[in-house]
């Protein structure tokens, strides 16, 4: 196969050249930076890391991140399931526009999303004023941060599920229908088990993206320490205040959670599905 594809260079040489390019690229982009963070984090042993991670503002930042990312994952999982079933199993007017709209968050800068949310829900807008009068603050508060996080991680579950649903097809669902299963029973007993690994992967990606979101949340949250400060915002603030120990420790914790989730997926997934 490799021989057939490489035209121009002798087979072995070109294969090594391609591998080298890919490895160097990955090394400078990913492996060295992440490795350095890990190294710098544990430069002075585990004690300072533990202290940095258990300081009150860190604990609070992790709590905020957990609430925001957790809510975003739940909402986008539900939305992703509904949207992908609509896209794959139903015909409706404006479907292609709907399909493209879901990809919009990939193209729009998170900062723009944050600013747009302020334009809609800000204190001086009619919606913002009305909501404020009813005791709901969106901007500089958790609701706005959740909305922003939902927006940036919107396509991830859908994009994982659409190809899986297309591959599974609808014959199993039809067979279940002729056997008497109600639409809900079909979803729970046939559709959901058939797409579970695609769904799990989408959820992990959404979680990773939500944990790491910075731009949109930075704009919307107002970065109020001890109130709307998420873990990523804490990393940046610590770094700017020359508290590099805390910055590295929290960054390490965020990266570790994301990598752990990916590893968990890989090991839980049955071999045939990988």
């Amino acid at each position: 196969m490799a021989e057939a594809r490489s035209v121009g260079l002798p087979p072995t040489q070109s294969r090594w050249a391609f591998r080298l390019i890919a490895l160097v690229y990955l090394a400078f982009l990913l492996i060295i930076p992440v490795g350095l963070i890990f190294w710098r984090t544990f430069e002075n042993g585990i004690g300072p890391v533990w202290d940095a991670l258990t300081s009150p503002d860190s604990v609070h930042a992790f709590q905020v991140t957990l609430i925001v990312a957790g809510t975003a994952v739940v909402l986008n999982t539900a939305f992703g399931l509904i949207a992908s079933l609509l896209i794959v199993r139903h015909e409706f007017r404006g479907k292609s526009i709907f399909n493209k709209l879901i990809d919009l968050p990939l193209a729009v800068s998170p900062v723009v999303v944050g600013l747009a949310l302020i334009l809609v829900y800000g204190r001086n807008t009619s919606i913002g004023t009305w909501l404020g009068a009813h005791g709901i603050n969106v901007i500089f508060a958790l609701p706005g941060m959740i909305i922003a996080t939902c927006f940036v991680s919107l396509p991830l579950v859908v994009r994982e599920l659409v190809p899986v649903l297309e591959e599974v097809g609808d014959e199993q669902e039809q067979a279940a229908a002729t056997l008497g299963a109600s639409p809900f029973q079909i979803f729970r007993r046939i559709t959901l088990p058939a797409i579970r690994w695609g769904l799990a992967y989408g959820v992990v990606l959404t979680l990773a993206r939500s944990l790491g979101e910075f731009g949109a949340v930075a704009v919307v949250s107002g970065r109020i320490v001890g109130q709307t400060q998420t873990a990523t915002l804490l990393v940046e603030q610590s770094f700017e205040n020359f508290d590099t120990g805390k910055a590295y420790s929290v960054a390490f914790a965020l990266a570790a959670v994301a990598i752990l989730a990916l590893l968990l997926m890989t090991f839980l997934r049955p071999r045939s599905d990988r």
């Binding site: 014959e171 199993q172 039809q174 067979a175 279940a176 229908a177 002729t178 056997l179 008497g180 299963a181 109600s182 029973q185 007993r189 046939i190 088990p193 058939a194 045939s272």
Partner: protein, 342 residues
């Protein structure tokens, strides 16, 4: 139980899949929907199952209108060409599915599933996953699954289409025997006329979304309603503007009343039967050596071929045997399955 489809029409965009189709499926029958692909057979089957709503027309089950009844409430078993096995369930759970949905007691489910797995010879495979079964085994599992809920009507969409020839033949016989045992009204879709003639006791011939003819295999073979049915149900050849079955032609070594001269182009010995390719137009045009394409063929026995010393270059005289079925050849525009007025 019986099923009627009356004046059913179904369009997909501008494509007319079913065009005013009326079919009656008598209770206890084993009916084949036969026709070329794209002829509407599968769509009709899906309309019967409630998987596809008809645009117009009525579907009756047991004499009551079921047109808008969802598939869940029709109590119809459906078997798909590609099995539609529930991939994440064992063979046992696949077959038990319909009974579990109906919340039958556990020991009743166990008894019934065991019974059905024995019936389809899969009792040793109860704990396997569908991926560990062969195509024929998967299809038998799908059949057991459909039969588990004791359907009023069993519908099979090209059930043997994805299987290799040997397994297909086995399953055919097996379906026939199963039907004789259980007497469940059965409809299956096929594009293979041999399969339809072999298994079914009634055949509905469909083409271009319309019913061409309904009858027993013998009726359709001996008295086709039109040229399409005649050519779809068995081999036909052309002679003097007539469609005729190649085994209904008489080969003579001398001119005779109603016989047409033809030159033998090729003689193929296929065991008992000998297939003789003829050039009728060439024999008429010149007496020189024949290099032309064959335009007709006959099937004769080995004895006849030997007696007449048939070999390439010989001129023979051909005519339909007495009582042979002939039909005017359709014109070019009629070629595609348009019913000829009869």
């Amino acid at each position: 139980m019986g099923m009627n489809a009356r004046n059913v029409t179904k369009r997909f965009g501008s494509f007319v899949a079913l065009d005013d189709v009326t079919v009656e499926i008598p209770s206890g029958s084993l009916t084949a929907l036969l026709g070329p692909s794209g002829g509407g057979k599968s769509t009709l089957l899906r309309v019967m199952a409630g998987l596809e709503p008809p645009d117009t027309g009525v579907v009756e089950l047991d004499g009551t209108d079921a047109t808008t009844l969802p598939p869940q409430r029709r109590n119809v078993g459906f078997v798909f060409q590609h099995y539609a096995a529930f991939k994440h369930m064992t063979v046992y759970r696949n077959v038990a599915f319909g009974l579990e949905i109906r919340k039958r007691p556990k020991d009743e489910i166990r008894r019934r599933v065991t019974e059905l797995l024995e019936l389809v010879h899969l009792e040793a495979f109860a704990d396997r996953m569908p991926a560990q079964l062969s195509g024929g085994q998967r299809q038998r599992m799908a059949l057991a699954r459909a039969l588990a809920v004791e359907p009023r009507l069993l519908l099979l969409d090209e059930p043997f289409g994805a299987l290799d020839a040997q397994v297909r033949k086995e399953l055919r016989n097996w379906l026939r025997r199963l039907h004789d045992q259980m007497h469940v009204t059965t409809v299956f879709v096929t594009h293979d006329q041999e399969e339809a003639m072999d298994v079914a006791d009634r055949i509905v011939v469909m083409a271009s979304g319309r019913v061409e003819q309904i009858g027993t295999p013998d009726e359709l073979y001996d008295r086709p309603a039109n040229a399409f049915v005649m050519s779809f149900l068995g081999p036909v050849t052309h002679l003097d503007g007539l469609l005729v079955r190649p085994h209904d032609l008489e080969v003579l070594d001398a001119p005779a009343d109603g016989a047409t001269a033809a030159r033998v182009v090729r003689v193929a010995r296929l065991g008992f039967e000998v297939r003789v390719d003829l050039d009728v137009a060439g024999a008429r045009a010149s007496a020189g050596p024949s290099t032309a394409e064959p335009d007709a063929y006959v099937q004769v026995t080995r004895d006849t071929a030997t007696r007449l010393a048939l070999e390439p270059g010989v001129t023979v005289h051909v005519r339909p045997t007495r009582g042979a079925l002939t039909m005017p050849e359709p014109t070019e525009t009629e070629e595609i399955a348009t019913p000829v007025a009869s």
